[in-house]
Subunit: 438 residues, 2 copies
């Protein structure tokens, strides 16, 4: 690390003054006393960068150098380390991080998209310059999940890391469950309230969760980050019928990111799941996040808390800043870049687990038996099957929902059985399939 | 720190070879590879101490120096640091920790009783010798709660730390709830199964929770450890009637340790609580533990996982060992001993919160009205009051349970109202009072 180990202040430059950046600047300016620890260098905010210099962000910027160009902030001689809070996997965010690392300045970032896309390259760059690259705030906001994987499980074999990593999805699912209303309606309301973006794709289709999961996977299993080659399914297809069936069967629907060691490699998958109502993750409602870490020695530990928000995310940045002020130099991805193993993908079709299947069955004699027969042909053992006629669905073209819960089986078997049932003409809509997790 | 920063092995001595000590020794002997990290010194187990040298503990002790006297292990020139897993607040445990610190050797301990009683003195001793004293395993077993308080919340104001800290109590309460059976019956079964000690006082009367809470309080609020001057109430008085009432009202009964900042000081209290069924801590069942940390920036984060067990507790010791191998030197109690503020106790009678009260009311005309009147006289606002005659309780000397849930009120008011109700002769047993937490 190029920083002198002295009592001289560690001069902080903050790139990006959105909600998190402004909260961080306020905290650095008002909590100097609380942030100074014995044996640690004092922290001093010296420079910021943002598009608009004049906007009031709730702190006095008069003593700070303002850079219109973030990369200039990285090269500012009065900046010892850079906090990147711009966001986005390329552009200004990438430029400022690269410029800082190349200049031998430590970087703290909350940017999961950047790390998912370029984390390996940036880790190598940080190692080459012998400076830390820290990112506690990039995953699960204020929850110390990164440091748990980095510091708390040495010598253990991590077998699974999973989590509720996107507050927007969790908020939508919680409201769908509590109020019995449809996805589109909750989404519109969430957008109105500012809990969802105007273009919600990144959140509700699972990509944000995928980015965060890719980072956790690398730390958990000592593998290279691989965010583009994983199974990703969002929450748009979840219906009030699924919510009602879940409640009746003792489950709650959550969007999970799961990375799991299997015999054939690592499963990385993002999809809606049925969680038993009494599981810890099932209790994480609204905008909260949670991360579960399973190891051979611990069983499971779960960390939950705020996944977003200016102060909560800034708090994680403060913890990283404090680590740097104390002179810590953890490797960005826990292990040296050169020792990370390639990510070996387990095939999703080989995934094993329980399944929830909801079929819209055409009301013809024998349909029910034919469906059960197709499941049996594919070796799928059923835990329960519920056929319930809706009072309004009568007449020659009526259909009725059939809910099937399987015992543990293989994804491929379920897909093939569904293909056969669809081909048989017994259903009038695509089967809804939701994986069951514990 | 007196250890040379080199690649030479860090020679570990383990004092105490019970469940945790034996698990740790096995791990150190079999996971040298996994435990060695770049930039960290390798860990090597060189010496152990226990009462019985010959007992088979599942590892090959032939290459290790055996000390019958733990203090000798601390002075062994082939031991660089000591892990104390003997237990107990005095005796051999205290001797070996003191001997190690005085000799300038770092200490890792899982001994909450020792820390609760002598933590301040030992922290001062460690600082005097400039060696670390680490104790992640002393609170909540495998959960990284100590390092969360130490590393993850700098610059934040902690307002409350609470937790389910005793697995024996939580196991007993969970079985009482699930099976509807009495405390004594579950305790006897737990003793038979090895989940409770022959003398269960330490666990079920709340003292173990109090010790752990005292350590968390010091870290959370920067105060001196004070374990003897706190409100402690165990779980012996909880009845199946309370369990049934809790379930009906949407609560679950848990033994919590709570340390909370108030206007008049810090409340440290250990007692059964009614937790809303949908709260995160209410889901922590069986032998699991959990710690919740509330700060001004984060709101609440909750960490849950195994609170005991050989491997899980040894895993926390391994994390501390890894910190030492990397050359970290955190202050034992986060802040230097000399800057810890005295613990200013908030008076329990000034505690404010909701209350559950179960009264066994003598079946006389007007009793119900008189009770409600007494509550009103003491300014207690009632959220609900349920009077339900049991079918078997009839006749002139019959009585019936009355369950009262109060809105937020002051402990003193509840106590005075209860005294008045008892003095009025309307109840034939001491009132059951359980505080409601969120």
């Amino acid at each position: 690390m190029t920083l002198p180990s002295s009592d001289s202040p560690l001069r902080v430059g903050v790139a990006g003054l959105g909600t998190v950046g402004a909260a961080l600047a306020r905290l650095l300016l008002t909590r100097a006393q609380e942030l100074s620890a014995e044996g640690a260098r004092p922290l001093r905010l010296t420079a910021v960068s943002a598009r608009d210099a004049s906007k009031d962000r709730g702190f006095d910027a008069s003593g700070l150098t303002f850079h219109a160009n973030a990369a200039d902030l990285a090269r500012d001689p009065n900046v010892d380390l850079v906090v990147e809070l711009i966001g986005g996997e390329d552009g200004a965010a990438k430029s400022v991080v690269e410029a800082a690392l190349e200049t031998g300045k430590p970087v703290i970032t909350a940017n999961k998209a950047l790390l998912a896309a370029h984390g390996l390259q940036l880790a190598a760059l940080a190692e080459k310059s012998s400076v830390p690259l820290l990112f506690e705030a990039a995953v699960a906001g204020g929850i110390p999940a990164i440091r748990a994987l980095r510091d708390a499980v040495p010598g253990q074999k991590v077998t699974r890391v999973s989590g509720i990593l996107n507050g927007t999805c969790n908020y939508i699912l919680t409201r769908m469950e509590n109020e019995g209303i449809a996805f589109d309606d909750v989404l519109a309301d969430a957008q109105r309230l500012g809990y969802a973006e105007a273009d919600p794709t990144f959140d509700v289709d699972g990509f944000d969760t995928a980015h965060k999961l890719a980072i956790l996977t690398s730390l958990a299993f000592g593998t290279e980050i691989e965010a583009s080659d994983m199974y990703v399914e969002g929450i748009r297809a979840i219906t009030p019928d699924d919510m009602a069936a879940a409640a009746e069967l003792g489950y709650r629907i959550k969007l999970l990111g799961v990375a799991q060691l299997t015999d054939t490699g690592i499963e990385q998958r993002v999809h809606p799941t049925m969680l038993p109502l009494d599981s810890t993750l099932a209790q994480i409602n609204g905008v909260l996040n949670a991360v579960a870490i399973d190891t051979d020695l611990l069983g499971e530990i779960v960390l939950s808390g705020p996944g977003a928000g200016g102060d909560a995310t800034a708090a994680s940045v403060l913890a990283d800043l404090q680590d740097l002020a104390r002179g810590l130099e953890p490797k960005p991805l826990r292990l040296p870049r050169g020792t990370l193993r390639p990510y070996q993908k387990a095939r999703m079709r080989a995934h094993e687990g329980g399944y929830y299947v909801r079929l819209s069955v055409v009301d013809k004699p024998g349909a029910f038996a034919a469906i059960a027969q197709r499941m049996a042909e594919h070796g799928i053992s059923l835990q329960s099957i519920v056929q319930r006629r809706k009072p309004t669905d009568t007449g020659p073209h009526s259909h009725q929902p059939v809910i099937i819960i399987t015992h543990e089986t293989m994804e491929l078997s379920v897909r093939e059985a569904m293909d056969a049932i669809v081909a048989d003409g017994h259903v009038n809509a695509a089967p809804q399939i939701i994986r069951i997790e514990r």
